[in-house]
Every structure is written in C-alpha cells, then in structure tokens.
Symmetry: C2
C-alpha cells in the first residue's frame, strides 16, 4: 500500500508542480500560456464546465497577465468535449476548452486542457475490491481520474485482482476512459465484471447496459462503493415507451453541439415514424431544456443528442423523451429484449 501511494505521483499527468489548481482540479495552464505565446494569439476563448466556471475570471486574469492577450469567457453551459463553443471559436485565435479530453470533432483552434482531480483512489478502490467477484476485472473511469488509474490497478493487485483497461481511441482518448455516450473501451474487454471509478450512477449504468455485465462503482469524492442495479432504470425506460405509445406528434431533437449532432439518424427515425403513421418533425437545438419544447405542441420527443437528455433529465419534461433505440421499440422494429443503451459513435 505504501508503495502504491509513493508511486502515485509518477502517474502520467500528475506533475502538479508546474500546474495550477482551481476548484480542486489541476489544470495545465502553463501549456496554455506557452501555446498562446508561441502562436501569437491575441484573442483567446475560455470554455469551462459549470464546476470550473467559478474559476474562469481568475484564469482570465492569470492568462491575460502572463501573455498580454485578451480572453473571452464562453458563458453558455458546457457539458463535455462534445460541446465546444463553435461560435466563440470563430471569434478567437485560440480556444481553451477546460475539463474534458479531446473528442476529435472540434474546430482546429481548440486546445483541450484536461482537469485532473487530486483525489487519491487507493482507499476507495481497495474497498470496492471487496465487492468484486472475478479475478479479471475491466477498470473504467472518467477523464478527471485517468491519471490515477495506475494507482487503482495497484490497489486491485493487492487484493489479487487483475485490472484491465480497454483501449483509448474513438470518442474516449485514454485507455480505460468512458464517456456518458461511449462505452467502447469497456465493450472491447472480454471480462465478466467491471469496476467504474467516478461520480454518479450514469456512467456505471451505461457500462452495465452496454455490456450486460456486473458493475461495481467506486466514488473517489464521497468514498461510496456499491453494485449497480439496472432494473429501476430499465423499468423507467419501459414506462417512458409505454407513455409515448399513443402519441401522434413526435419531435425529433437534433443537437447543434458538434459532438452530439446526429442529423442522419434523426432523418432515419423521422421516416421510420412517418411510415408507421406518426406525425414527425425535426427540431434543431443547442441546450435541450423543457421550455424549448413547450410551444411546439409535441406529445413525445426522440432525442438524438446526448443520451443523458432522455435518460437522466426525463423528470424535468412534461412529455416522454425517448432515445433512438427506445423509439424503435415503440414502433415495433426492435424487441425490448434487444434494448440498447444509446451511444454516440
């Protein structure tokens, strides 16, 4: 245990001496300053998720002070690397996107500065190990903790468990990384059980539904460890399909966000619905919020944007919001037994 603790500092990306700490995250602002200086950029954009937004004015001061450039903060909400502020990108020479790993669908002037949480994984992973049943376990996490995965694997080894990381690539940049909309790194592993390290139930539910395997989750912030049960969510989703069954008028929501935009899928669903007698129309949106749908008179909606819109935010909406595959179940072109968690390729 002592060894693992002492080696934690040598995990990739944890060279915090040259980093800056904001809101409990390490950000490699030195790299940003260097790139601004090298490029000669004079107007720079700064985009951050809500958890880092409070630090934005201080970061503006730091960058402007060290480079002499002008920084403009993106004031709209930011939910991921899928959600680069493309309109601000057009106004600036360089765009700093904080908190998320590169996704591969952003304008060329975006620099992704991942935010790394300081939380130690040793203790929470050691406790999660007691809930694991297999000897080979797929290990997954979100970008904030990827730099500590070496420590997590070491903690598992102490319990005789071999932790395996799926490959990075596609939407997830790092080995072992999952996104709310992509579990490819988990699906690539031939294991019977997964450990998810991170906050919230959405990602581990996604892993469980994408792989149909057992998932144990370990939250480094709260220290909580538990086994994931997909039944409540599946029941809720079945209920949403039933509620939408008799709807005549469906809005198909298409996101403006570059990494969430699935127009071709939306068009396919529109044809599918119309061929089965539903009234279908396409709606293009930036942030999908309940009041956006109020005046359109839809009785139900299908979201082709971030899967969280349908799966996580359902309670906020007065009408049922389905994922693409749920809409296929509703139309009878997919069996409920073939239910698939919505992922973006």
């Amino acid at each position: 245990m002592a060894r693992a603790h002492s080696t934690a500092g040598s995990d990739s990306g944890s060279n915090s001496s040259s980093n800056s700490c904001f809101s409990g995250y390490d950000l490699d602002l030195d790299r940003a300053v260097e790139m601004i200086r090298k490029s000669g950029a004079w107007r720079v954009g700064l985009q951050a998720p809500e958890g880092l937004k409070r630090a934005a004015p201080a970061i503006v001061g730091l960058i402007e002070g060290q480079t002499g450039c002008e920084v403009i903060i993106s004031g709209d909400p930011c939910f991921g690397a899928c959600d680069v502020d493309v309109l601000l990108c057009r106004e600036v020479d360089l765009m700093l996107h904080l908190g998320h790993a590169e996704l591969g669908e952003a304008p060329g002037n975006v620099i992704f500065l991942e935010a790394r949480m300081k939380e130690d994984l040793w203790e929470v992973v050691s406790r999660a190990a007691l809930l694991l049943k297999e000897k080979n376990v797929g290990v997954t996490t979100t970008v904030q903790h990827v730099h500590r995965l070496g420590q997590a694997l070491a903690a598992l080894r102490e319990h005789g468990i071999s932790g395996l990381l799926g490959p990075g690539g596609g939407r997830a940049k790092h080995p072992g990384q999952v996104l709310g909309c992509s579990y490819a790194s988990a699906r690539a592993l031939h294991v019977q059980e997964y450990l998810f390290i991170g906050t919230g139930k959405f990602h581990p539910l996604g892993i469980a539904l994408a792989t149909r395997k057992r998932v144990v989750t370990a939250d480094p912030v709260t220290g909580e460890v538990s086994e994931i049960d997909t039944d409540p969510m599946l029941r809720r989703r079945f209920g949403a399909i039933c509620r939408a069954k008799d709807a005549k008028r469906f809005a198909i929501l298409v996101s403006k966000k570059p990494g969430q935009k699935r127009i071709e899928l939306a068009e396919r669903l529109k044809e599918l619905g119309r061929a089965r007698g539903r009234e279908m129309f396409l709606v293009y949106l930036d942030n999908i919020e309940p009041d956006r749908l109020l005046n359109l008179g839809a009785e139900a909606a299908v979201s082709t944007a971030c899967p969280r819109v349908a799966l996580d935010d359902a309670a906020k909406y007065k009408i049922p919001i389905l994922t693409p595959t749920e809409f296929e179940v509703l139309l009878g072109v997919r069996e409920w037994a073939d239910y698939k968690f919505d992922e973006i390729e």
Copy 2:
C-alpha cells in the same frame, strides 16, 4: 372614415388571399414555397418567434407537402431578425425566418417572411388622436403593423393631424418602423410628438428616451391608448447604477446573435473599467439568462446585447445589469443628464 376602411385592403402587403394565416398572423408562405421550388433546396430551416412556434409543425407539413423538401425547425428561442439561427443556416440550403423584417446581418441563405397582424388600426388610432396635442406627429410602429400605416395616417387626418413617417433604412426596413434597439426612423423626424402603434411599453419608452419628446401609445390588440411616462424607468435605471456603484467585479456580456454582437464596444468598456480600477471580464453568450451568470461570480454586469436584457429583464437577475451608457455614467465619464437609451447601430 368609411373611405379609410375600404382602402385598408390596398395597403401594401395585405393581399391576404394568397397568404396563409397562422396564430392570427398573415405569412406569405406562397413566396417561401416558390423560392424553395426555384432554388431546388432540399433541406430547409424554419425559425419563428415563440408567438408563432406553435404553428411551426403545421407549417412544416404544408411546406414539405408542397415542395418535397425536408424542413428542420429551429428549437431555440428567437427574439428578432437580430437572432438568426446561424448554426442551422449552415445545415440547410434555405432558411425561412418568420415574423421579422430583414435586418441586414444574416447569412445569405435566409428568407425573411414578415408576419402581419390582422388587427384594424382605425379605431385605436382615432382614440389615440384625442390624446395628441400637436398638428404634426411622428408615427411609428413595429413590423407586424407596418402594412396598416396607411390606415393609421388616414385616421389621424380625420382628426386634422398630419402623421409623418420617418425613413426606413439601417436596422429598420420600413418607413415608420422602430425596433427595440433602434429608433432612427423616429429621431430623423423634426416633430414635437410621436404616436406609437403596437404592443407593450418598451418601444414607446425607447422613442421617448431617444427623442426626449412626448409619446402617445396605441395598442391595436388591447385597444388601450395612453401617454408614456419615462420617469419610473429612469428612476429604476438610476437605482441600478447606484446598486452597481461599489461592485469590483464586472462581467461584460457579448451576444452571439449576429445582430446583437458588439465586441468592439465591449472591449472599449472593459478598458474603460479597468483604467478606473474595476475587475472586468468578457462573457460570450447566446441567450442571456440569470443562471448563465450564477457561477461566474460577477457582482454586476454590463450588457452589450439587446437593450431589453438590461432594461426589461432586470428583475430576473440578482445582480444589477447596466447598458453601456449606464456603465459610463457609473464610471463618471458620462453625466446622468446625458443619459441615452441604448441603441444598436
């Protein structure tokens, strides 16, 4: 009076026989259908203000049925011709923007389809005439009623009043038209009194503050006529400046909307504030809403977007939001006696 009534139908744009009526508005959809056919567009965008959004799915049906193209509705809020959905414009061959007159700052593939209200102006203008004191009166309205201005002038003539229309051009397309952010057509007239025909108090307050002249307002929907008193608003604005006086940290809000974007003005205000010891930062936003500002930690804001953000929506915000000229008053570089209503050029 009878003559004026009978000639109302010959006012420009009221040839409703070839138009379509939605939510109480005449829309020249025949022209849209013709332009879609001529251009061979296969994917068409449809953007409408909230008052017309309920009609959007029916308009989609009509256009798709008559042309065979695919229509995508813009689901984000739309506040004017300043607010063309530029991201949707990039996805479609043609963009139909409903309800507003052309502003001159939109992508080339946008077709503006003005919405014309059916309301008769004769009676309400006749009653407003009784409140007017001058023989020469500037007559102003919003785009929904411009096609009826001939009727309004005729009604004034019956009361011995000569109604004058300021020139169209700049942000306002039609003679006599005003926008929430532009009163150039009113300012161009050498009169001592104005009549505003339309809904709400914002436009007539703008005319009164932009011209410092007496304004009578006539609402064709409610039938209400009244004289505009600018004092309550000026007191509220003075109060907002006082509340912001001791703020150290100011956000300067810059709109993403093509017709509301004033980056150079924002940069000038930033320098002005910094030179006087305030902490200033620029924030780029689409829809300016209270929750967008919560996490940025600003103690006050200056909005360079639509003037309604500061002047009309102030009550929604926890921090004072000033217009650019109000910020100049706060900094002491402009006298309160030189207070200017915020207009966009």
